[in-house]
């Protein structure tokens, strides 16, 4: 594809995301980008490097639940080098000492303890006023209402009932007192866009997304609660073809979303991304 082709769909998405990155970096004192090592996260890294001409000028944060797939840890170390990432890793050691884990606790509790709690602690520690997230409107209904720049209170709460208007490329540029702003460059992307972009740009990703023995992961989380889907798609072209036909939701394999009717809503109100 010609590098001058600016009117195609993926390039428009890409250029808008770059703009969002740049505006965030210009507006906020201290930016951080949580990194799950999943495909959306990896696309974000790629876009950040494009936005900042090769170098990511802020740290990435990995909240390590200690339940990542072994391949993800390998991928983390590899990607760190490839992209020159300044990586902060945080583990909720206290919760692990208290015996919080999937063997004994429900997924909502574990997700809260091992992800949200250390995530909030890291925000308190580093005082970031902007966090770049990889959420997309098409992932989940509660994410459909998000804005490019979404202010969060000091407690991490999201006032979805009274969101600032967003128009003409003007975003909420001030974090609430003691709070931060979520910056969401992938808001308009779909799962299919992500994969088509990964293919076009040849972005490194974990191979867990590709089928082995008739199963592959469509979304990656903690291994005890993340289940592969039946799929013969063993390479990126096949994944893309499969997505064009599928009717099931992307996060169907993520158990913590489905514990109760409103589990995703509960998680997000408490600060989950």
């Amino acid at each position: 594809m010609s590098r001058n082709a600016q009117n195609d769909h993926l390039t428009r998405l890409e250029q808008t995301s770059i703009h969002v990155f740049r505006e965030a970096f210009a507006n906020f004192r201290s930016v951080c980008m949580p990194w799950s090592m999943g495909k959306d996260s990896n696309v974000l890294i790629w876009l950040a490097r494009k936005a900042f001409c090769g170098k990511i000028p802020f740290p990435l944060l990995h909240i390590d639940t200690t339940y990542e797939f072994p391949e993800m840890y390998e991928f983390r170390e590899k990607a760190k080098v490839i992209h020159g990432i300044d990586l902060i890793v945080r583990v909720n050691e206290d919760a692990i000492r208290r015996g919080i884990g999937y063997a004994t606790h429900d997924p909502v509790t574990v997700t809260h303890e091992l992800k949200t709690v250390p995530f909030k602690a890291a925000i308190d520690e580093f005082k970031w006023d902007a966090l770049v997230t990889g959420i997309r409107r098409d992932e989940d209904p509660t994410r459909a209402k998000e804005r490019w720049f979404s202010p969060r209170s000091a407690e991490g709460n999201w006032d979805y009932k009274d969101q600032p208007p967003e128009f003409w490329g003007q975003f909420a540029s001030t974090a609430p007192e003691g709070g931060h702003v979520r910056v969401q460059p992938l808001l308009e992307w779909t799962e299919l866009d992500i994969w088509e972009y990964i293919r076009r740009e040849n972005i490194p990703n974990p191979t867990l997304y590709f089928a082995r023995d008739g199963k592959r992961f469509r979304s990656l989380g903690c291994h005890p609660i993340t289940h592969p889907v039946d799929s013969p798609a063993s390479n990126i072209d096949e994944v893309i073809e499969e997505l064009k036909l599928t009717k099931t939701s992307e996060r169907a394999g993520r158990a913590q979303d489905h514990v109760g009717r409103n589990s995703m809503q509960e998680l997000r109100a408490k600060g989950f991304m």
Binding site: N4, A5, H9, P165, F167, G169, N262, M264
Partner: protein, 630 residues
């Protein structure tokens, strides 16, 4: 400004078979004119509903003993999507044979205007429903007014509920005539007025047999004919500076091309300020090649041939087609704030990447968005539209909305929150110049950057002056007003009468800060190099210079290193007891606890040190620091 084309079309690679990109559509209109029913029917008729959804809703209706309505379908979807959370910017997707669509802001909830503005501003097209039986109503007009302000150009009016008026063409024509006249006063034109009966799916996707007189398109046909958005590549170049990156040896001007196109070799002028330079390269990652042109919507990473002063907020254009530069203009504003917009109050004006204080100098009139009647008022309530004179506290670059919409509109912010937006109608000629004493912000405006005091503290021989000299050189070469106040120089001039006692040191710091204040007052970035060993004295200096941005640079070199350098032979003298109360030897040095810049000279090269200081100054100059308007 003329709109002569400055560039060739950027791309011819539009997808041919199917346009994957979702087109954003807003659905607006008076309450009960059938928005929900229409959306429900549209989803059904385009086969965009999840399997079994319609059967489920029909069943629920039967259980409740209600007649099935398509509006329920939408309610059910929303409820499900929202999981009982109050609706905000929700998207509902549907797809025609041609392409995918997203309906932004499903209708029918509170705070509609605020969300409609957010939605409509990003929409490529609007569908406005009018009840054929009830005719044009208050919100029919109000919503069109907002659409006109937000710049939604592709408007289709749906004359709904045609079944209730016996599918009468004359009733339809009456509405067309009345509403067209109204739209005309707003400068809007509807692409089509389509007669529909949403409840029965007539002319939504399928053509209505009962309205054979209608030869125009159905709703989906009309949508499929829309273009995604105006291509602004033919307009003159407008590249607002988002940031200046200096992550490595390169100095990259970053920004998004909002109109026109830019190429290497183009001469640019940056307004306000008026400095010129030429595009040397685009620094596209991952390379190896960079683009040969960046068109509208593209993010550019530009290096310049000549190192001129550039800051966030400036707009780069070609010299032949520049934006206007000024600080006072007439604008039409829509106001969404809970508190009314008040005359003579200062708000934050955001236009592209420019961000300045601006006073609503005069509220000319408040317009009723429905009747278009205007009246004078001193304040503007929520959800109103008004015409005002805006006076920014310094010059900004802008266009009239009629010339270039994207640089002719702005948002108004208060307390970090956007409360309204406006379009610029015309410039206000300023007959009288400013009067009274010259203010710091006027000086700053002339310099093109805010002043600052950068105070280098550290032991004798730590390298303060060397770093400061290099910083001064870089700033000077970048076209900034900069001056250095050196402690050693002061010692032989202004401070000739002072020794090294604690009292004399305090006095020396006081005098240096007074001198720095005078220089900063003239708009200079003032670099002070003074040991200033005592924290209390430095705190006093900072307080005395509270009107200016103050950057403390701690040049932190180990005593042994300073002593081994001993350029001036002072340490040797101090060791021999020839200088009393010498800092580090016979007098204490209290290291700063939280300097803005901390340079550890044993770990940082001189070059890195200079970059650290420059980047701290850059942040201020780019408006990231304290507000410099005094």
């Amino acid at each position: 400004m003329n709109t002569q084309s400055l560039s060739q079309p950027v791309s011819t690679s539009l997808p041919s078979v199917e346009d994957h990109r979702k087109m954003h559509v807003v659905v607006v209109g008076h309450v009960d004119h059938g928005k929900s029913t229409f959306v429900g029917r549209l989803l059904n008729d385009t086969d965009s509903l999840p399997n079994g959804k319609i059967e489920q809703v029909r069943k629920n209706c039967a259980i409740e003993g209600m007649e099935f309505e398509y509006a329920f379908l939408l309610d059910a979807l929303i409820e499900e999507q929202e999981q009982n959370i109050t609706i905000d910017t929700t998207r509902i997707f549907f797809r025609t044979k041609q392409r995918a669509y997203a309906i932004i802001d499903a209708p029918g909830h509170k705070e509609f205007l605020k969300n409609m503005v957010t939605g409509a501003a990003s929409a490529s097209a609007a569908l406005l429903l009018i009840d054929a039986k009830e005719g044009v109503m208050d919100q029919s007009r109000r919503h069109a007014f907002l659409l006109s302000l937000l710049g939604v150009k592709q408007l289709v009016v749906l004359v709904n509920k045609m079944d209730l008026v016996d599918h009468s063409e004359s009733t339809y024509q009456k509405i067309v005539a009345e509403y067209s006249a109204f739209l005309k006063t707003l400068g809007l034109t509807a692409v089509h007025f389509i007669p529909i009966a949403a409840k029965h799916g007539e002319n939504v996707v399928d053509r209505s047999a009962k309205m054979a007189w209608w030869k125009g398109p159905t709703v989906t046909e009309a949508l499929d004919n829309f273009a995604h958005e105006d291509d602004l590549t033919g307009l003159p170049l407008r590249l607002p500076v988002s940031d200046i990156y200096r992550f490595d040896h390169r100095r990259i001007i970053a920004g998004r091309v909002e109109a026109g196109a830019i190429r290497p070799g183009d001469e640019l002028i940056f307004q306000p300020g008026g400095r010129r330079s030429t595009v040397r390269t685009f620094e596209d990652w991952p390379g190896p090649e960079s683009r040969s042109v960046v068109g509208t919507g593209g993010s550019a990473s530009v290096t310049l041939s000549e190192q001129i002063f550039v800051e966030r907020g400036q707009v780069a254009s070609h010299p032949a087609n520049q934006p206007r530069v000024g600080r006072e203009f007439r604008a039409r504003i829509f106001w969404l704030g809970k508190e009314p917009l008040v005359q003579n109050k200062t708000y934050r004006l955001r236009l592209l990447t420019q961000n300045v204080d601006a006073v609503i100098a005069k509220i000319i009139k408040v317009t009723d968005a429905s009747t278009l009647e205007s009246k004078e008022a001193a304040s503007v309530p929520r959800d109103s539209i008004c015409e005002v004179i805006v006076r920014a506290t310094r010059n900004i670059a802008y266009d009239l909305h009629s010339e270039c919409p994207i640089t002719g509109r702005f948002a108004l912010e208060e307390g970090g929150r956007i409360h309204g937006g406006g379009i610029i109608l015309d410039a206000v000629s300023k007959s009288e110049g400013p009067s009274g004493k010259v203010t710091a912000s006027e000086r700053g405006a002339r310099a093109g950057h805010p002043p600052a005091v950068v105070w280098f503290t550290g032991l004798s021989g730590s390298g303060k002056s060397t770093i400061a000299e290099a910083v001064e050189r870089r700033l000077f070469d970048a076209g900034r007003n900069v001056i250095r106040v050196d402690g050693d120089d002061l010692r032989v001039s202004l401070n000739r009468d002072l020794g090294f006692s604690a009292a004399d040191r305090a006095e020396s710091v006081r005098r240096a800060s007074a001198v720095a204040g005078l220089f900063a007052g003239t708009g200079h970035i003032t670099l002070v190099t003074l040991i200033a060993p005592l924290a209390a004295d430095r705190a006093k200096a900072r307080a005395a210079l509270a009107n200016h941005t103050f950057i403390e640079v701690f040049v932190d070199a180990p005593l042994a290193v300073c002593e081994s350098r001993d350029v001036k032979g002072l340490y040797a003298k101090a060791r021999r007891g020839e200088i009393a109360e010498f800092t580090g030897i016979s007098s204490p040095y209290e290291a700063p606890e939280s300097p803005e810049v901390h340079i550890k000279t044993d770990k940082t090269s001189q070059e890195e040190a200079v970059d650290l200081v420059l980047s701290a100054i850059d942040k201020i100059l780019q408006g990231k620091g304290e507000d410099w308007e005094v």
